[in-house]
């Protein structure tokens, strides 16, 4: 007759955990199934980095600046991932009809966002690594890692803060509607400039660097440069340990803000019936 197997429903923390991995899964598997993406997603940053490296060579910059440009170029992969695959993602999902399924499914939306972040982070770390390896081989960049543990801590906390920001942006961009596309476009070069992707952010002066520190990659990149290239704190904006502490605060603030923004968005969206409206 009928199979009487009992279906166990996930609830509570397990539901959160299961939802997160369910959303992360397509990103991780997608990267493996569609390997040709790797070509374009590493080629474009490699081209940009090469341009900046040759510019540095044309103006006789010291060799460590080649490494600065390579590291900055690799970090652009994370920023682009946050903009296009985190911040804009709920907008794309709405456009394609997935958002309504997320909303009516029992899994929490925060877990969906976290899954996007985890999947995107793993996928992008692979790409950033390829960019660093390729550019390092092409341009003969050498690294002097002075404190590997601190470097690992800076990277992990930077990513937590960055993807926390991406989760917050996802709600903001969803409200922005059609302008989400343009917002993502607008937040590329200006952020590369303000965050010092291709030069030490210290060169922009104290106040600009301070304001730019709201973007986690500003301090993260600055700390990583100090720890990877010379161990010389004079090239940095702030000491690496101080930057790590600020990044920790940013991570907590962004993730908490993302939680509140998402709750508010869902509440207002349900009340006004605009959560899945596709005209905007």
């Amino acid at each position: 007759m009928f199979d009487q197997t009992r279906v166990t429903k996930a609830t509570g923390l397990f539901l959160f955990w299961a939802t997160m991995w369910a959303r992360a899964y397509p990103r991780m598997v997608g990267a493996l199934r569609e390997r040709s993406w790797m070509f374009f997603e590493t080629l474009l940053p490699v081209l940009a980095v090469s341009g900046y490296v040759f510019l540095y060579r044309a103006i006789n910059a010291p060799p460590e600046y080649t490494g600065f440009a390579v590291l900055g170029g690799a970090m652009t992969a994370f920023w682009l991932n946050v903009l296009w695959s985190m911040a804009s993602q709920l907008y794309w999902d709405k456009d394609q009809g997935n958002l309504e399924m997320y909303v009516v499914a029992p899994g929490p939306l925060m877990a969906v966002l976290l899954g996007m972040a985890v999947g995107g982070l793993l996928m992008t770390t692979t790409r950033a690594t390829v960019i660093i390896v390729v550019c390092s081989l092409l341009f003969g960049v050498t690294y002097q890692i002075t404190d590997p543990l601190l470097l690992a801590a800076v990277f992990i906390v930077t990513m937590a803060a960055l993807y926390g920001m991406g989760m917050l942006f996802a709600s903001v961009f969803l409200i922005a509607g059609r302008e989400a596309w343009h917002l993502s476009n607008l937040l590329q070069e200006p952020i590369y400039l303000a965050s010092g992707f291709y030069f030490p952010v210290k060169a922009l002066g104290f106040w600009v660097a301070t304001f730019a520190s709201i973007i986690p990659l500003t301090l993260g990149l600055d700390a990583m440069r100090q720890l990877i290239f010379s161990g010389d704190p004079t090239i940095g904006f702030l000491p690496a340990t101080v930057e790590l502490a600020i990044l920790l605060v940013l991570a907590v603030v962004f993730i908490a803000a993302a939680y509140f923004a998402l709750s508010k968005l869902e509440q207002v969206g349900r009340q006004q019936g605009r959560l899945v409206e596709r005209r905007r």
Binding site: L43, L47, A48, Y52, I59, H182, Q188, E189
Partner: protein, 296 residues
């Protein structure tokens, strides 16, 4: 009455399918590019990104040279990067028109089965981005003159060279953009990245921000095959006059030679783009790609 309607009422335009399509497509492209925001926000958006792009180079240069903005190398870098805004806009513009029509608005099948001239339609869509790009270039150059003392003086500009090289260079670029757009018609995947990849490669190999002599010898020949290389050189010479930095890779070419090379590229690319477009449209229909929605 809108400007586009007035142009459409001109006798010459009324008699030509191709011209009518071109005008309407230009108007449509402009609306799509600009009507998502109020004019002020759109102006800010159109200016901030290119300015930030050029300022990255300015800071890189200033950090290394202790702000030696009076050096001709700075003008070479700044003007090259400012002009390259147009290259990026035009090369990727037509591809994005295809992606928008096919994936976002889902009207590609209606457009390309309607009795209109698809080739001039794509040209028109590209022109809208060309207009936005031109404004960005002018503002970026003005910013450079005002803040960094870029040595561009109206009285010293070689206007005939500027005009001729602009027309020929932009024609060549538009045809390249059309080839990229037509190629997009035949693609099921990766169409988002192809235009950017080509524009990125040209940025590297055309000497936009550094002379070709900086590239390894075995890579320099790529630059000599690109119309952008000659267009940038001609435009720099026209704008900067005697202040232009001269590097041995292109210094042996006279202005007339640059114009002749650009004219050759424009003619060849025009013919190639027309045939390539016909082949690409046919292929996309044969393979059922014209109304494809990939969801990428």
């Amino acid at each position: 009455m809108t400007i586009s309607q007035r142009i459409l009422d001109l006798p010459l335009v009324r008699r030509s399918d191709a011209l009518r399509t071109f005008v309407v497509a230009t108007w449509l492209g402009w609306q799509i590019e600009s009507n998502w925001a109020d004019p002020f926000l759109f102006a800010v958006y159109s200016i901030v990104r290119p300015l930030a792009g050029v300022l990255i180079l300015v800071v890189m240069y200033a950090v290394i040279t202790a702000s030696a903005f009076e050096d001709p190398t700075f003008a070479y870098i700044y003007v090259g990067n400012a002009l390259y805004i147009l290259v990026g806009m035009v090369i990727t513009g037509v591809s994005w028109a295809i992606i928008d029509d096919r994936e976002h608005y889902r009207v590609a099948k209606n457009i390309f089965t309607a009795p209109l001239n698809g080739y001039t339609y794509l040209f028109g869509r590209g022109v809208a981005r060309l207009i936005i790009g031109s404004v960005s270039v002018l503002i970026t150059l003005g910013f450079g003159i005002f803040f960094f003392g870029l040595p561009i003086r109206l009285s010293a500009i070689d206007w005939p060279l500027l005009l001729v090289s602009s027309v020929l260079g932009l024609t060549a670029l538009a045809c390249l953009g059309l080839i990229m757009g037509a190629w997009t018609l035949t693609m099921a995947r990766h169409f988002w990245s192809v235009g950017d990849a080509v524009a990125g490669a040209m940025y590297l190999f055309s000497g936009a921000i550094f002379p070709l002599s900086v590239l390894p010898v075995w890579l320099r020949w790529i630059g000599f095959l690109l119309p952008v290389t000659y267009w940038l050189e001609a435009m720099r010479r026209a704008l900067l006059g005697d202040e232009v930095a001269s590097f041995d890779t292109l210094a042996f070419l006279s202005n007339q030679a640059l114009v002749a090379i650009l004219a050759g590229f424009a003619v060849v690319l025009f013919v190639v783009s027309a045939y390539f477009y016909r082949w690409a449209l046919h292929t996309s229909k044969e393979k059922g790609l014209l109304d494809m929605e990939s969801g990428y």
